[in-house]
Subunit: 361 residues, 2 copies
DNA sequence: AGCGTGCACTAAACCGGTTTGCTAAATCGG
DNA sequence: CCGATTTAGCAAACCGGTTTAGTGCACGCT
């Protein structure tokens, strides 16, 4: 025998068995009108009997389309999935993709390089998630030549994009806490390879930070850099980051977490450290993931339409793919505060102690 | 112009620009040893300058491999992602796939047909999740000829598979509740197109049901069919199923939920209905997803190594793919009860009322 | 009979790479 | 200095489909 390989049935085998040309077999499946009815049926019959299934790869090559879209994430899949935000987004992506019969390919850095992974991926377009504008690989991704929709990504004006008013959301979070009397804050940022010193001001993190700062500044509160710590956007990451800050002696009465996952981690850490929430510590998240209503205590957070973001991203991408539109549409969705039980008035003791330092009323 | 198409740089363009053959260009990337060093460098240089990136589809076709694995789920992506169990599993899958440089393709029913989706997918193998043995399409999937590892799927002895001792886990859950004095139970099953009358006894649902029954039977308790209700394995599904049962007049003191997602839903519904957990109702989940420790109250549940299941499934699959092994290995992982705060002794009032019926001590 | 039309089907080109044999020149051993 | 081996590079086949551009034939019309 020539070589093992797969003894898969090829289109030529069917053609031979049916005594027709390859073309006819192809037509029997994809263009039956060009064949006599009984011929088409006979061919399909024989194909079926032989167990013929067209090779999807060969099909892609000749048709020039893959029928799949790629979800681009700057973090490895293992961390991406430990963030419920991503799950929710994928719900939306899945919904829209299913609808139009497109497959979903997950693309994360391959051996540390997103560009390499992008090059390997056989898709018709990408939905890029959280690719900061200063991410060094954003340009390489763009060079793939395939259509891209940027979600939460600080894309250029020529790119299609979907995002939310992160800044307004963060502002609402800060105002909420300030309104409860808090003056000692800790911000927990998510850190996908992001130098906190100079976050891209257009990026999600930069925008949220700006919102927080604006809200605090309105009450005359500064936010020094040592009150901002960061870690991966996971429960473990949030828990660890809070513990670290606490260990270093920081004693905030309120935590502004940039994601619900991080906020969940804070709740866990606080519980372990014997800190009562919201009695001694208030926590506000961001995202309003399903679980936010179920944790203990239920999390006050900034709601954003995560699922819809996923859906719209895919719909936008598909319209670009199918209509070959140039696609530079921008969609901007809204956020709002959802007040639950993880926030409360600033604790008495702390108010007195800190009050002496900062307030003179 | 002939036709728009993509004006992508092809290997032939590079060859022409460099004044060499296509073969040499290919070698410059994939087999540089067969070229003089400076030639290889020069070619790569020109390719780079031209922005050449090999078409992954063409590459797949000629190499006969895709560098990707498919995750097969019997439900649409949108519901799959609303189940935290799946997220955790994907963490493991992502970890192992990243490690070996494989991509991950999500495959869910296309226009209702899993077989169709499988046919369209260009992957080197599948990890099938929760495909019940009596699922009509399991056979069609197998006919793809590609290697498959079945997770939680009641596969045949010739298939590679990974699962956990669902029955023992369920037994432990039932024993725990019986030990607390409960006698009025409600079982909430997950329902991916599963007729509860005759669940595949080898399937996950069948096994867990058997475990529950065994544990109850040991205490002389029957589990009539009307005490088993089912719904999708999501928070919403669990919430709705419990509400329905409650609305129909069922008044269990203990709920056995077949997944944590369902259990979360029960907690929500109970809270809405003013039922105190664990004071008036005990709830046991299954999976021990990360969130289980965070909900209110923290969920008593059966722990299973979900992440590891994902990892091992991929490793097993890759070994079959790469070594062309016949792969009929079975791995059986273990479960154990994690006791948290959602379970407690049977409530007094109920104990008296029901005690009259069933107990004579 | 002569011509146009439509039908049923096919040969060959094509998609964009990789791989196999082969040739010509350079290098080596003795 | 000559035959043997190695090196560098190429043409063509191949992967498995789809699509283009015909071909041959039967039929209808005048």
């Amino acid at each position: 025998m020539t070589r093992g390989r797969t003894n898969r049935i090829r289109i030529a085998d069917v053609a031979e068995a049916a005594g027709v040309s390859k073309t006819s077999v192809s037509f029997a499946f994809n263009n039956p009108d060009r064949l006599a009815d009984d011929t088409a049926i006979r061919i399909r019959d024989i194909a079926q009997r032989l167990g013929y299934r067209p090779d999807p790869v060969a099909r892609m090559l000749s048709q020039g389309r893959t029928g799949a879209i790629g979800i681009l994430t700057p973090q490895p899949l293992s961390v991406v999935f430990s963030n419920p935000f991503f799950g929710a987004l994928c719900e939306g992506v899945g919904l829209a993709a299913d609808e139009s019969g497109f497959g979903v390919y997950l693309i994360s850095p391959l051996h540390g390089s997103l560009a390499r992974a992008v090059g390997r991926a056989s898709v018709d377009g990408f939905v890029a998630i959280g690719l900061a504008g200063d991410h060094p690989e954003i340009e390489q991704v763009r060079q793939s030549g395939l259509p891209i929709v940027f979600v939460d990504s600080a894309a250029g004006p020529d790119d299609a994009s979907i995002d939310v008013d992160d800044r307004a959301g963060a502002l609402a979070a800060a105002e909420h806490l300030v309104g409860l009397g808090h003056r000692e804050f800790l911000v927990l940022a998510m850190e996908p390879a992001m130098r906190l010193e100079h976050p891209d001001p257009e990026g999600v993190i930069g925008q949220r930070l700006a919102g927080y700062r604006q809200g605090l500044a309105a009450a005359g509160i500064q936010l020094p850099n040592d009150r901002i710590v960061s870690g991966p956007s996971t429960v473990a990451g949030g828990s660890e980051a809070f513990r670290r800050a606490w260990g270093e002696g920081l004693r905030p009465t309120a935590v502004l977490a940039m994601s619900d996952a991080i906020a969940f981690g804070v709740l866990r850490a606080a519980d372990d450290l014997g800190i009562n929430v919201p009695g001694a510590l208030s926590v506000v998240g961001f995202d309003d993931v399903d679980m936010a209503a179920f944790v203990n205590p239920p999390l006050t957070t900034i709601h954003q339409p995560v699922r819809r973001k996923g859906e719209e991203a895919v719909r936008l991408l598909l319209s670009v793919i199918e209509l070959r539109a140039t696609g530079s549409e921008h969609r901007h969705l809204h956020t709002h505060l959802v007040s639950r039980a993880s926030t409360g008035p600033v604790p008495r003791a702390t108010r007195e102690v800190n009050g002496a330092d900062t307030v003179t009323v």
